[in-house]
């Protein structure tokens, strides 16, 4: 009963309107026993971070298919840090070129980046393994 439940915010920042991927991932995380807050489409970085704060989540998962990841991810990371949420794990999924993914991870903006072809199991395991 005292086990800390992993709470994850799944958010879609920016302007792309395709949330099938986000929903599939949300569902998989639910089935892996996590509490998933889904905040819907078209969120600004400020909305994402304020939601993460109020919901006191351990993980923020961003789904970005618009190509704006190099702007959105660092901005959201910066806002998280500004709100003393350095400890929140930021995970990104979407259509993200390899070199961008590497840059986001190397820059300390994202803990991990998942792209098409990565299994749901891999995503769930990555997140759970961060809280063991």
């Amino acid at each position: 009963m005292n086990r800390r439940k992993i709470r994850v915010l799944v958010a879609k920042p920016g302007l792309d309107g395709h949330d099938r991927g986000a929903r599939v991932v949300a569902r998989a995380l639910r089935d892996a026993g996590m509490e998933v807050i889904y905040s819907g489409l078209h969120q600004t970085p400020e909305q994402v971070v304020e939601t993460a704060l109020q919901e006191d989540v351990e993980v923020v998962g961003l789904s970005i298919l618009s190509g704006a990841h190099m702007t959105l991810v660092p901005k959201i990371k910066r806002l998280l840090v500004e709100n003393s949420m350095n400890d929140v794990l930021l995970v990104v999924g979407g259509i993200i070129p390899e070199e961008d993914a590497a840059a986001l991870i190397a820059g300390g903006f994202a803990g991990q980046v998942f792209t098409p072809g990565d299994s749901l199991e891999k995503i769930c395991n990555y997140i759970s393994s961060n809280f063991e």
Partner: protein, 317 residues
């Protein structure tokens, strides 16, 4: 921890969020925390919103927030969604409708999963309300999970309870049934642009008019939440109901009943947890279970034996 409470009282949103997590996770400091914030509670008025899945509760909350904020009140929202009985996970999706308010500093929204509770609220909803109350919210809106007929815990928690229905919800006998139809201080018939709304409104009114001499006669308000129609009427009806409760003394009565229930529950909780702690130290319970299963013992005398083995209660005979 003391610092966390101080930060909460100063209005720190992150402290509020953290404290809700701590009470929700049954942190060992939970009661200490609740003790510390209790003197600062009692200010917030609690409005519950309940109804079937997809009736439009979240959208109504979204619209209500808009109307209520125009009067300058500070608002907390607790939105409950169900926990999976299989994986223990949950999808908390009520916020989707409310994200326009995400950046309003006077609105604090928290999603909670039921975590095994079956009455329409989560196990820690009451405690989360106390945190938001101490946080300085004037009003706390509690949205239940989508309910059926009998999940009526909200009525024990809210000062005003709103039941949200939609047109075409069955014949008029449904309105006579016990449970959810009895708990409303205010009925909302949402999606009133769909056919059948007049009949639904009439049937609820007829049910309500079967009984005279009631201290409060709930209003029945048709709304179309996506167009914002009828929302102001809901808010004025909430205010009327509050006025009625306050002037008739019923609010004080209800809150006294709530205190009594909370104290009883807390005593029972402590007795139970201390009892099991002591019993588990003294006995190997698995052995007793097996004996009962093999019919060598029975559960009734075994329970008495366990109870007698503790120093909990003076034996009467």
């Amino acid at each position: 921890m003391q610092q966390l409470v101080e930060e909460l009282l100063k209005g720190n949103r992150r402290a509020a969020a953290r404290l809700i997590t701590l009470v929700e996770n049954d942190d060992r400091r939970k009661f200490e925390l609740l003790q510390a914030i209790y003197p600062h509670t009692g200010h917030a008025y609690v409005v519950g919103i309940t109804g079937a899945p997809g009736a439009g509760k979240s959208s109504l909350v979204d619209r209500l927030l808009q109307v209520i904020r125009a009067e300058g009140l500070s608002i907390g929202v607790i939105a409950v969604d169900p926990t999976s009985p299989f994986s223990d996970g949950a999808i908390l999706g009520d916020r989707i409708r409310m994200q326009d308010h995400a950046l309003d500093r006077e609105i604090f929204i928290r999603s909670m999963a039921t975590r095994g509770s079956l009455g329409g609220l989560s196990r820690a909803t009451k405690e989360a309300i106390q945190v938001l109350d101490a946080f300085g919210k004037d009003l706390v809106l509690v949205e239940t999970v989508g309910v059926g007929q009998s999940e009526v815990d909200i009525v024990k928690t809210a000062d005003t309870t709103i039941v949200v229905l939609t047109p075409a919800g069955g014949d008029s006998v449904q309105t006579l049934k016990a449970g959810i139809m009895e708990i409303a201080d205010l009925f909302v018939v949402n999606k009133a642009d769909l056919p059948g709304v007049d009949r639904t409104v009439t049937e609820i009114n007829m049910m309500l008019d079967m009984k005279n001499d009631v201290p409060w006669r709930p209003a029945v308000i048709p709304t179309v939440s996506i167009r914002g129609e009828g929302i102001e009427k809901i808010w004025s009806s909430i205010k009327e109901h509050r006025h009625h409760l306050e002037t008739s003394g019923r609010l004080a009565e209800a809150r006294l009943r709530r205190v009594k229930r909370e104290l009883t529950e807390q005593v029972e909780y402590l007795v139970k947890s201390r009892f099991w702690e002591e019993v588990k130290e003294k006995f190997f319970l698995g052995e007793i279970f097996e004996k009962i299963a093999r019919r060598e013992k029975d559960p009734y005398s075994s329970a008495c034996e366990l109870l007698d083995s503790t120093n909990f209660f003076e034996r009467k005979s």
